[in-house]
Amino acid sequence: MSLLRLAGLTKHYSSRDLPAVDHLTLEVEKGEILALLGPSGCGKTTTLRLIAGFERPDAGTIEIGGRTVADAQTFVSPEQRGVGMVFQEYTLFPHLTVEANIGFGLRRLGYPGRAQRIKEMLETAALTSLARRYPHELSGGQQQRAALARALAPHPAILLLDEPFSNLDATLRAHMLHEVYTILRELGTTAIFVTHDQEEAFMVADRVGVVNRGQLEQIGRPEEIYHLPATPFVARFVGKANFLPGRVVGVGIETEIGTFPNTANLPEGSMVEVVIRPDQMELMPDRFGSAVVISRRFRGADTLLVVQFPSGLILHSYQPSSVMLLPKEQVKVVTRPTPVVAFPAEVPQP
């Protein structure tokens, strides 16, 4: 029994434009953390707003905990959905102290219950000593935790987080990522968070949904998303990917750097593209190698090497910094993609 169920969810902002959300269907289990990953403007934030009740869907249904909150006949207003929300800019109420912010959604509890719950949440978010402060007296990370505590205080059925880490600098971000993850896990919260950063999505989420042009391209565990991208878009957006043109011949896919097994059962004779991650290939100096290094960029932990084949094909490869290949050097390229991912070619080959 899933806690949240979206079916055929569609939303147009204006009748001329493409839909912001286009027949989106997905389910979230109780206690699960789902990340919606996609480029800006892909419709992931609109999806959150639809779930929270700030937008009305044009078509489709939303069920939370078995209750239909939006369909053609029903529209439950946001305050009655039991959905918590954390925003990119936190939006703590500036005229209220931290504890009053946390207590904002606890009106229905009587005084003792409210005080008790505020105390619990302050402890969970490690804010007890800052309870009487105003939001502008807090650091970015503290504001983040306060916003999280505020959203979680009324026991929401589901928590929605809209780009919650994008306002933080890199160091603080990694730290907060861990803290938020710990709090959510500790409380067994069901959560959906929206991000354009795959690293964030992979680190926090049980499952990742990749959204593009309002549609769910793929949903699955982070490893699946990375290693078995379902569409060329996912392959390109999640991690870097080389697209190696080839042709299906017999049991394999013939390409310029070798033959790969046709695991996807693509039709015989068709033109395809094999996905090769930059970290899935080895470059070996070889005077008779077919490729030549055309550029080298030091990146710290690894080095980005760009190699070119006689046909003009260009591949990007990450190599350990210890690999000392220089531009103009002839190399031999060995790839070992496991498993092999291939798609029908997007553009017809000449």
Binding site: A52, E79, F104, P135
Partner: protein, 561 residues
């Protein structure tokens, strides 16, 4: 269809639509009566005074226009581009005349410069009875008086515009070898044009709407003519026709402003950007600059206020204290207070509802309703009367049919009518101020509140209202003071025998009882200083203590959807 149903259920939208519609009605009434002119009345007006009225009104606008442009732009240029003794002080002292209604300074000047006044009497005493002196109760007098109180509405935006440019553009222009007056004509003035045009249009609309000054000076313009045919001849249709023509003039000004502004937008940033390129004046030039600024402040504010004080003190010493003063004061405060509360409440309903959902019909009515500020009080009075009388007659008819009693004219000529007219005229003021503070609150505040279980009303009450408290107070003060000063609509619509301070000033000054009018006039000026203080506070942001939560929280600044 689902969507339409949702819209119909939206109680906020209904409330906002209702407010906007009610306020827009009188305006629509006046506009619609433009389509059905009465030939009879026009023929009569044409044969009698129409030509004089039009000529006088146009001449007034031209004269005041030139006057406020010279004073407003000139003084703004002086305080932004030069350093001279007392500059910082004059920068805000020069706004003070804004506190002075034209009719107050008008009657003071009349009293001082009239044939029997101290100046002419003094001159006659010195040089004999044949000495010539210009007649203050003339075209020139009216233009002088209006220019002196209306120039700040050009001075303020021009000053802001000059300040905003100075650092960037002026230095660039100077680096290219442009200096002095060339700089002013070629760079500064064209850049400031949109701001100046907006200020000028505002000043001219005020001049068009003025009744008190022109009446005291016996200078017949539209407002005076409307008052005369309304009360003198009890000819309301003729008053309506005149109001229509005045409306046409106002709309023409409105359009002219749009043209002058061009496509540029008028904006006013708060806080002061110090002009780095200000030139320090020395020697006689410095003293001349201080002298000019000081003269304007003295003539337009200090001397009139001093005169009012002298008269008030003298009057109270001679037991001439107007026994009904307290009554006028209470009436005025009550009217202004009620209107301020109603106008701010209506503004909150309209702006908050439109923030929720931009319904094009409600937005249109709100836009029409905000035109009220451009309309002269006399025009609005006429427009308010028609729907009120209609309502009264309907109610009366219904009550007679059903209960057999007559309600008479329930609303017409009551305080309700008066507050209604004020609301039409000043809703735009409160709406603008409330909206300006509301847009500073990011929409995700609303979402945060809703997702924590607060209804839309709850979000307004628990989040928005506490956050925009300062804006609500400013809006209330602005409306309050505008109502205090308002004269023509009050004269036309007040309940019989219900006099306010402005009405009292009118009654006394129309009988040349200057001294007696001093106390009520002084009270109005004292009230008028409040919005000036708000403005000054905007010019020089105060640190710490008085700053509101909104100003303290940097994340709320300038974050608009």
């Amino acid at each position: 269809m689902q969507r339409r149903y949702e819209t119909l259920k939206d109680i906020w939208l209904w409330a906002a639509g209702l407010v906007a519609l009610v306020v827009a009605t009188p305006i629509l009434v006046v506009i619609s009566s433009l389509a059905t002119p009465s030939v009879e009345i026009w023929r009569h007006l044409w044969q009698t005074t129409l030509f004089e009225i039009i000529q006088n009104t146009l001449a007034l606008i031209m004269g005041v226009g030139v006057g406020v442009l010279i004073l407003g732009v000139g003084l703004a240029w002086l305080v932004t581009m030069y350093r001279f003794p007392g500059r910082a002080m004059f920068e805000w002292l020069l706004i003070l005349p804004l506190a002075m209604p034209a009719y107050v300074i008008g009657f003071i000047f009349r009293a001082i410069f009239d044939y029997t006044g101290p100046v002419q009497s003094g001159l006659r005493g010195m040089f004999g009875p044949k000495i010539w002196f210009p007649d203050i109760a003339s075209y020139g007098g009216v233009v002088l008086v209006m220019t002196l109180v209306l120039y700040p509405s050009v001075y303020l935006p021009a000053r802001t515009a000059f300040l905003e440019q100075s650092a960037r553009t002026l230095e660039a222009a100077r680096a290219l070898g442009t200096t002095g007056l060339t700089l002013f004509w070629k760079v500064t003035l064209p850049l400031a044009r949109p701001s100046i045009a907006a200020g000028l249009a505002f000043a001219l609309m005020e001049a068009l709407a003025d009744f008190g000054t022109v009446a005291i000076y016996g200078y017949t313009t539209f407002t005076v003519a409307i008052y005369r045919v309304w009360f003198g001849m009890f000819n309301r249709p003729a008053a309506t026709e005149l109001a229509n023509l005045l409306l046409v003039l106002t709309v023409a000004l409105y359009l002219l402003e749009g043209t002058l502004r061009g496509r540029a937008r008028f904006y006013q940033t708060e806080g002061s950007v110090r002009s780095v390129s200000a030139k320090t004046l020395v020697g006689w030039q410095a003293w001349a600059a201080s002298g000019v600024a000081g003269l304007i402040v003295a003539v337009a504010f200090l001397v009139p206020v001093a005169q009012l004080l002298v008269w008030t003190i003298a009057g109270s010493g001679q037991q001439q204290f107007d026994a009904r003063y307290l009554e006028f004061l209470v009436n005025t405060l009550m009217l202004a207070g009620i209107t301020a509360v109603v106008a701010v409440g209506a503004a909150v309903v309209v702006t908050y509802s439109l923030r929720q959902r931009r319904n094009p019909i409600v937005a249109l009515f709100a836009r029409i309703a905000s035109m009220g500020y451009a309309l002269p009080g006399s025009v609005i009075a006429v427009g308010v009367l028609v729907p009120l009388a209609f309502f009264d007659h309907q109610l009366d008819a219904v009550l007679r049919r059903t209960l057999g009693v007559s309600s008479g004219l329930l609303l017409t000529g009551s305080m309700v009518g008066l507050v209604f007219a004020y609301l039409v005229r000043f809703l735009a003021v409160s709406c603008q101020t409330v909206e300006a503070s509301l847009v500073k609150i990011t929409p995700s505040m609303d979402m945060a509140g809703r997702s924590l279980g607060a209804s839309r009303g709850g979000v307004l009450r628990r989040i928005h209202l506490p956050l925009i408290r300062g804006g609500l107070c400013s809006a209330a003060i602005l409306v309050f003071v505008d109502v205090m000063k308002e004269m023509p609509a009050t004269l036309l619509l007040r309940p019989f025998g219900y006099d306010t301070l402005a009405v009292r000033v009118w009654q006394l000054t129309s009988e040349s009882m200057w001294e007696a009018a001093a106390l009520p006039a002084l009270t109005i000026v004292a009230g008028g200083i409040l919005p000036v203080l708000l403005l000054v506070r905007g010019l020089r942001p105060l640190a710490g203590a008085r700053a509101s939560v909104l100003e303290r929280d940097p994340r709320l600044q300038g974050r608009t959807p």
